[in-house]
């Protein structure tokens, strides 16, 4: 119980620190929302007028505290760039998309990497292992946006299995949305499958050589029993760490992949908001990302306990 409370406090503190950091960052970055909105038509007076309208001319601390006051209530204010559109609505439009993309990506990652990893360790060094290895090597070396472009070209324009850009949000049509997201999910997943397989394989093989494994065999356990009971548990630790990083990354929004496939997700929103110095939106998205990462890491720490009780991460 105490453990959980400690974690919650940590979460809150982290969110606070991040929000302050974002705030400071925005103060350092040249240009602000008023200037960007007006563009080349901006004159000092117009910019001042716009600043007043957006409330940008108040002292820094005031602006931050005001934001904080509203944020804890769950009100993230209105976007600077899109006047009279609430930040919450901008996010809630895109969150389902990013989440769906993330989920499909996970499905691919885990359904592909675990079997591949296991297969390759069955007969290490034999042709199947080598084949998978080389394939994974190559897969890891391909930048995901390059992969995305190739997928778009092959499946979108040549085979016409999907129409690039014709994205439907999950709210409108869940199945169609999921079908479209298969391809961006592939672009996201494949490079990570390669890394996972590598981790899994090296982890399992390293464990296999350990003494306790030989001991288990000599005691008469079957190969698979040894595998699942002992080896996997130990090999999984770095894998879980890695998985945590991937999860956080994907949930935060795979910016480049979203760009290539025209998927309006959180990543794109963040980029657009940073470019137009839309502070409320950036703060909200960053808060979301931070929360996700910390929660995921928390779950991961719990998993460590499960997998290897000797480890004490409290």
């Amino acid at each position: 119980m105490k453990y959980i409370i400690k974690k919650v406090i940590t979460l809150i503190m982290a969110l606070l620190v991040i929000s302050i950091f974002t705030f400071v960052a925005f103060s350092i970055l040249p240009g602000d929302a008023a200037m960007t909105k007006l563009g080349t038509a901006g004159t000092p007076e117009k910019i001042e007028a716009m600043r007043e309208e957006l409330g940008l001319n108040r002292p820094i601390i005031t602006r931050y505290l005001d934001w904080l006051k509203d944020a804890v209530k769950g009100e993230f204010g209105e976007s600077y760039q899109y006047s009279s559109t609430s930040v919450a609505s901008l996010i809630s439009e895109r969150l389902p998309t990013t989440v769906l993309l993330a989920v499909i990506s996970f499905l691919f990652i885990f359904s592909l990497s675990i079997p591949l990893g296991l297969i390759s360790t069955k007969h290490p060094g034999k042709w199947l292992d080598t084949l998978i290895n080389q394939l994974m090597q190559i897969m890891m070396a391909i930048p995901s946006f390059f992969l995305g472009i190739i997928l778009t070209y092959i499946f979108g324009l040549v085979l016409k299995w999907f129409q690039p850009g014709k994205f439907i949000s999950p709210a409108e049509d869940f199945i169609a949305s999921a079908r479209y997201l298969v391809f961006p999910a592939l672009a996201v997943a494949l490079p990570k499958v390669a890394m996972m397989v590598k981790f899994l394989r090296s982890g399992i093989l390293a464990e296999t050589k350990k003494d306790y494994v030989r001991t288990a065999y000599s005691k008469g356990s079957s190969e698979n029993r040894v595998l699942f009971r002992h080896i996997l548990k130990n090999a999984l630790i770095p894998v879980i760490t890695f998985a945590a990083m991937i999860i956080a990354e994907i949930l935060a929004g795979s910016i480049v992949v979203e760009q290539v496939f025209g998927v309006p997700g959180m990543g794109r929103l963040l980029i657009m908001a940073i470019a137009s110095r839309d502070y409320p939106v950036v703060q909200a998205v960053v808060t979301y990302i931070t929360a996700i990462v910390i929660i995921v890491n928390f779950i991961v720490d719990m998993l460590y306990q499960l997998v290897d009780p000797r480890v004490n991460t409290a």
């Binding site: 970055l29 040249p30 240009g31 602000d32 200037m35 960007t36 007006l38 563009g39 080349t40 038509a41 901006g42 004159t43 000092p44 007076e45 117009k46 910019i47 007028a49 716009m50 976007s79 899109y82 006047s83 009279s84 559109t85 901008l90 439009e93 499905l107 691919f108 359904s111 592909l112 675990i114 079997p115 296991l118 297969i119 069955k122 499946f155 979108g156 324009l157 016409k160 299995w161 999907f162 129409q163 690039p164 850009g165 014709k166 079908r179 298969v182 079957s222 190969e223 698979n224 760009q259 290539v260 496939f261 025209g262 309006p264 794109r268 929103l269 657009m272 470019a275 137009s276 110095r277």
Partner: protein, 524 residues
């Protein structure tokens, strides 16, 4: 089951999962959107003539910049203006050849040498919600525009708007302004009764507002009561926002977009038979803008050397396949009446001459020059790359600095903290809106150009009532800028718009306006 079976099961599940999802997508092949089905023409022979046009149908237009706001009176950018052109109209409206035509007003008179403008309200004209446009609405709109735009607009010199009778209204100025009509084209008339201007825009334009999803799309539908008989043709227009230019292009090729503007020449060369390419110009003064305060650039000889060193033809070649019009001063050729052709070609590409001038100015060894470019505009970046090579050939050590758009706006445009930059600058229909930039007291004179002579002549030109005098003076200003080589003026870049072959009637404008009212499907 034994280990082999278990393992095969895993494999099977994995394969099943992958194939179900991928195979399921085969279904998409057959599903086309209803509009594309309706209008799927066969590979008809070339028909660039619109024979019998059809009314109805819907069109998807791509836009690579999202809308700033749907409030027609606030300051917005060209992308937004392009779009709202379909929703709103002012008392007058620009035509595709740079002229003005009556819109909400059916007639107008300029009295007292430009101090009073009298307008006659068009009979029977209605707003999108069906209500009749009244002179009170006109008065309200003008006053609101002046208030929202505040000091910066020409309407700060406005004395008052007077309603004479139920179909006549007069705009009275404190000082005469002979160029007000062009500015009135963007004073959009909206109903006084509408309080939700930004979220529920109502105007008199050919299309009315249906819905807007920020960052995604704007839906418009036909204004049944539009005053111009027979227009618009289309039932529905969707403006689809796609942030990434390359993705937008892919959508165009895939058929999810019917119209896309601001295409590059490379993209035009890729497009096949299904698209007509409409050529226009971007209505920009594209140049290597120089900070005249930066020491080496203070000397006119140095600036002239730069003009001779930059290979404008090559830039044109790369930028637009050679189809842009090269310019010599700060004015676009499509404003025909005021354009000074003599400014062109003053500085032919001549490396030797450039070196000579540099030596005369005392910079035989060259100097350092940083070119700050906004990375969002790949055209400017590429132009800058070419310029860097050009300048190297005359001994100038040029380097690029890519910055974010916001950073460019704040460092270069606002604070003038730069040496040189490549950008395209736009303005409105009125010539003064272009040339005012070089007046020493103008807030956005980011070139730091200062000349008493220029300021004087500008003031004279602005005040001139006689048409011929105006033209002469504005042309003189252009020559000054050219002779002083204030910037290295390059071109008014050619603009390419791809329009689906099934459509016709798309016209380009010399101002930011994408007019969908004349667009229609060609009958099969």
């Amino acid at each position: 089951m034994n280990k082999r079976t278990r393992f095969l099961c895993l494999l099977a599940v994995m394969v099943l999962l992958v194939s179900v999802t991928l195979g399921g997508c085969q279904g998409d092949k057959g599903t086309e959107s209803s509009t594309t089905d309706n209008n799927s023409s066969t590979n008809a022979a070339s028909e660039t003539e619109a024979t019998r046009a059809t009314t109805g149908g819907s069109v998807v237009v791509g836009m690579t910049q999202d809308l700033v706001s749907l409030d027609p009176h606030i300051q917005t950018d060209a992308g937004t203006r392009n779009v709202v052109f379909n929703l709103f109209e002012g008392l007058v409206k620009p035509t595709s050849d740079g002229d003005l035509m009556p819109a909400v007003a059916s007639d107008y008179e300029v009295l007292e040498d430009g101090k009073v403008y009298r307008f006659t309200l068009r009979e029977g004209i209605t707003f999108h919600d069906g209500s009749k446009v009244t002179v009170e609405d006109i008065k309200y709109s003008i006053e609101r525009y002046a208030e929202v735009q505040s000091e910066a607009s020409v309407f700060s010199a406005m004395d008052e708007v007077v309603v004479i009778d139920e179909s006549t209204v007069e705009l009275r100025l404190e000082e005469a302004n002979t160029e007000l009509l062009a500015d009135l084209a963007t004073v959009y008339i909206i109903p006084q009764s509408n309080t939700d201007v930004a979220t529920n825009p109502i105007g008199t334009g050919p299309f009315k507002f249906v819905s807007y999803t920020a960052g995604q799309k704007l839906m418009l539908s036909k204004h049944e009561g539009y005053w111009k008989e027979g227009y618009p043709y289309l039932d529905e227009v969707e403006f689809k926002f796609i942030a990434d230019v390359e993705t937008a292009f892919m959508e165009l090729q895939a058929g999810t977009l019917d119209i896309l503007n601001y295409l590059t020449i490379d993209q035009v060369e890729i497009l096949g038979e299904e698209f007509n390419i409409v050529e226009g110009s971007m209505n920009l003064v594209h140049a290597l803008y120089l900070n005249n305060d930066y020491e080496p650039l203070q000397d006119v000889k140095v600036r002239q050397a730069l003009c001779h060193a930059v290979d404008k033809d090559t830039i044109n070649e790369f930028f637009a396949g050679g189809k842009s019009r090269l310019i010599g001063s700060h004015m676009i050729p499509s404003i025909v009446k005021y354009y000074e052709e003599g400014a062109e070609g003053l500085y032919p590409y001549d490396v030797e001459k450039a070196k000579e001038l540099l030596a005369e100015a005392g910079y035989a060894e060259g100097f350092d020059l940083v070119i700050t470019v906004p990375n969002a505009y790949s055209q400017h970046v590429r132009t800058a790359e070419i310029i860097v090579e050009n300048l190297k050939a005359v001994g100038i050590n040029a380097s690029l600095e890519l910055v974010e758009w916001s950073t460019w706006l704040s460092d270069v445009y606002a604070e003038r903290n730069y040496q040189s930059t490549v950008i395209g600058v736009d303005a409105k229909l009125a010539p003064s809106s272009w040339l005012i930039r070089y007046v020493s007291t103008y807030e956005n004179n980011f070139m730091n150009y200062s000349s008493n002579e220029y300021d004087d002549i500008f003031a004279q030109a602005k005040a001139a009532v006689d048409e011929t005098e105006k033209v002469t003076l504005y042309k003189e200003l252009q020559m000054i800028l050219a002779q002083e080589a204030v910037n290295v003026f390059i071109q008014d870049p050619a603009e390419f718009v791809a329009v689906n072959r099934k459509l016709t009637g798309y016209e380009v404008f010399p101002v930011a306006a994408q007019d969908l009212s004349t667009v229609r499907y060609v009958e099969q």
